[in-house]
């Protein structure tokens, strides 16, 4: 919520590498206490943006502010207030879970007392209790992810940047990981997370879809759906999905529909103002001798929205 204050702010942020523009004028506001999602395919500029926010890369132009502090040459004072889990986090395989956390705690310069408390909290918040003595090389992907999260929050940061934390993790572990992130929010840690899994967008409070270094959609999941695809998905349950798809695809220009797609035994029809086209669609199918079955308007997925906004 905006009333909580702004945790991160990017204004016309640009990063060029030679001829290549990785980030092309990025703008966003991340509110304190929310999970902000930064979504886009591989190579869309997500990691470059995070690195600029962390002060690891200097913007070509534009500016970025984190926790009210402009990120420029000197980020020394800001560092202790920020947590970062990179895509390829390094853990010491021959150390135990506890030893890894202690190592990172010392690297952050925590005092003995801070270290003890930080480790205890991190074990709870990252869901690592009971695994303290397990050697890191024995952990599965999902558990390693949790350990990396634990290491990133040891010093009790106010904002946490997570770069593709769930890449390559199976769906069950991904779900558990998101539950941990909601736990961080309850401790007033703001979360900025990138992902290329569109289904994870639904878990964010607000998000930006990124394509080729630019923001193409921005807002809460509900706002985005309403803005980009109001009432635009019609779901049919026809007796013959194949013929239904063929008939509707052939008539798509006349019916002014964009896409017709198969979803198991259902067919989804995409286009503007589907409600007004319902009768024409049903009549077209009946005229061709097909039973359109039950028809209902359904909510688009965020992936539907992403694809529609690119087109």
């Amino acid at each position: 919520m905006k009333s909580n204050g702004i945790a991160a702010l990017a204004q016309d942020l640009v990063k060029r590498f030679g001829d290549f523009t990785a980030v092309a004028g990025m703008n966003f506001e991340v509110y304190r206490g929310e999970i902000f999602g930064f979504l886009g395919p591989n190579g869309s500029g997500k990691t470059t943006t995070i690195r600029m926010a962390l002060g690891l890369l200097t913007p070509t132009s534009g500016s970025v502010e984190v926790l009210g502090v402009p990120v420029d040459g000197n980020t020394h004072a800001l560092r202790p207030r920020i947590g970062y889990m990179s895509q390829r986090f390094s853990l010491y395989n021959d150390l135990s879970v506890l030893q890894n956390l202690q190592f990172y705690g010392r690297a952050y310069g925590l005092s003995n007392h801070e270290l003890k408390e930080g480790v205890e909290d991190a074990l709870v918040l990252a869901g690592l209790e009971g695994r303290e003595k397990v050697k890191t090389h024995e952990l599965s992907g999902g558990w390693r992810q949790r350990l990396a999260l634990g290491a990133a929050i040891l010093h009790e940061p106010e904002i946490l940047f997570l770069d593709e934390p769930t890449a390559g993790v199976d769906p069950l572990s991904r779900r558990d990981f998101w539950d941990l992130l909601y736990g961080l929010i309850e401790k007033n840690i703001t979360v900025f997370v990138t992902t290329h899994y569109m289904d994870e967008a639904e878990h964010c409070h607000r998000l930006a879809f990124i394509q080729s270094g630019s923001r193409i959609v921005y807002g809460s999941p509900a706002e985005i759906k309403e803005e980009v695809m109001p009432g635009q998905v019609l779901e049919l349950a026809p007796s013959d999905t194949g013929k239904t798809i063929q008939v509707l695809r052939e008539a798509s220009d006349r019916l002014k529909i964009d896409e017709v797609e198969l979803y198991g035994s259902l067919v989804h029809v995409f286009g503007p103002q589907m409600e007004d086209k319902l009768d024409a669609i049903i009549n077209t199918l009946r005229d061709a001798g097909h039973d359109p079955g039950q028809a209902s308007l359904v909510e688009p997925s965020l992936e539907d929205v992403f694809i529609a906004s690119i087109k």
């Binding site: 909601y182 878990h203 694809i307």
Partner: protein
């Protein structure tokens, strides 16, 4: 069923040393089905597909493909199937067109058919304008489409696709599924494995694998119905306090965050929805909306897997 199954597995098992990667699979897939194989990493999806492709020996059990015995007639079966591995190896230095020609020769496609098939597949995969581009210079999504085109060059009636959309951008993923839909409508039998739960919704039937076993095999609608309980979607003004409030109410089995919304798994939506509304009002917890919601495929799988683990 009167027609012969395209694929029939009976107690199919594969062991590696001390690991039972595939454990007594019984599945019968009819011609023309679009069958999804889903499950977490290590569930046995890839091993199952490799067994079907004749790349691994069966430890126990039997499999017939297109009516042929997999163990005894592996070579004959190869002309009926197209197998696309997760890391499909194309020749990076060859062009799109040259890759297709290479696979045509590999599969002994009669010379007189090659030209027409190549043109048709290029068109079908949306690669015609890139036919001279080297495979190494294609985007990830285009490489997957080329791999599929190569898999289709000998016109197999059965397709085995191992995670064809993993790591592909959303637009290419959508295009890839449109191609699969086209093949499905034209009668090709397809088995596709995926780690994306939302893709299960696109299949006519889904098998959920877990620890080498098939724990559910049904249509997406049926799988949803197996979840105990119903879903209510609540959009509170303040999700943190609302979550605490509703979690303790009778009949609420689970609360899941979806950004600003909460998904409540309840024993009966009809019964609990008015009760929850009453409590929210009496505690002055304002909310924007509350409604019964469909169970998502991911939620269905997670609840089924959790039940297995308990």
């Amino acid at each position: 069923m009167t027609s012969q199954a395209a694929i029939a597995l009976s107690s199919l098992t594969k062991e590696f040393k001390d690991n039972r990667a595939v454990d007594s699979l019984d599945i019968s897939i009819q011609p023309g089905e679009l069958f999804g194989l889903v499950g977490p990493d290590g569930a046995g999806k890839t091993t199952t597909l490799r067994l079907l492709a004749g790349l691994l020996d069966i430890t126990e059990g039997e499999a017939t493909i297109a009516g042929l015995d997999l163990a005894a007639e592996t070579e004959k079966i190869k002309s009926h199937i197209g197998y696309m591995a997760q890391e499909f190896s194309m020749y990076a230095e060859l062009s799109v067109e040259e890759n297709l020609l290479f696979f045509a020769e590999l599969y002994d496609v009669p010379v007189e058919h090659i030209q027409a098939r190549k043109e048709r597949l290029l068109e079908f995969a949306g690669l015609t304008e890139f036919k001279e581009r080297r495979a190494a210079h294609l985007s990830g999504g285009m490489q997957k489409k080329l791999a599929l085109a190569c898999t289709l060059i000998h016109e197999p009636q059965i397709l085995l696709l191992d995670e064809p959309t993993t790591g592909v951008d959303p637009v290419s993923r959508r295009e890839f599924w449109n191609i699969l839909t086209e093949l499905h409508i034209n009668g090709t039998t397809i088995i596709v494995s995926t780690p994306y739960m939302d893709e299960a919704d696109r299949c006519s039937r889904v098998g959920l694998m877990y620890a080498g076993r098939l724990i559910v095999c049904a249509s997406p609608q049926e799988i949803r119905q197996r979840v105990e309980g119903e879903m209510i979607e609540l959009r509170p003004e303040d999700w943190q306090s609302a979550r605490v409030l509703v979690a303790e109410l009778p009949g609420v089995l689970e609360v899941q965050n979806y950004g600003e919304r909460l998904h409540l798994l309840v024993d009966s939506a009809e019964k609990r929805l008015p009760e929850i509304e009453t409590v929210l009002r009496s505690k002055k917890a304002s909310y924007r909306s509350i409604r019964p919601a469909p169970t998502g495929m991911e939620e269905a799988f997670i609840s089924l897997i959790k039940r297995m683990e308990d």
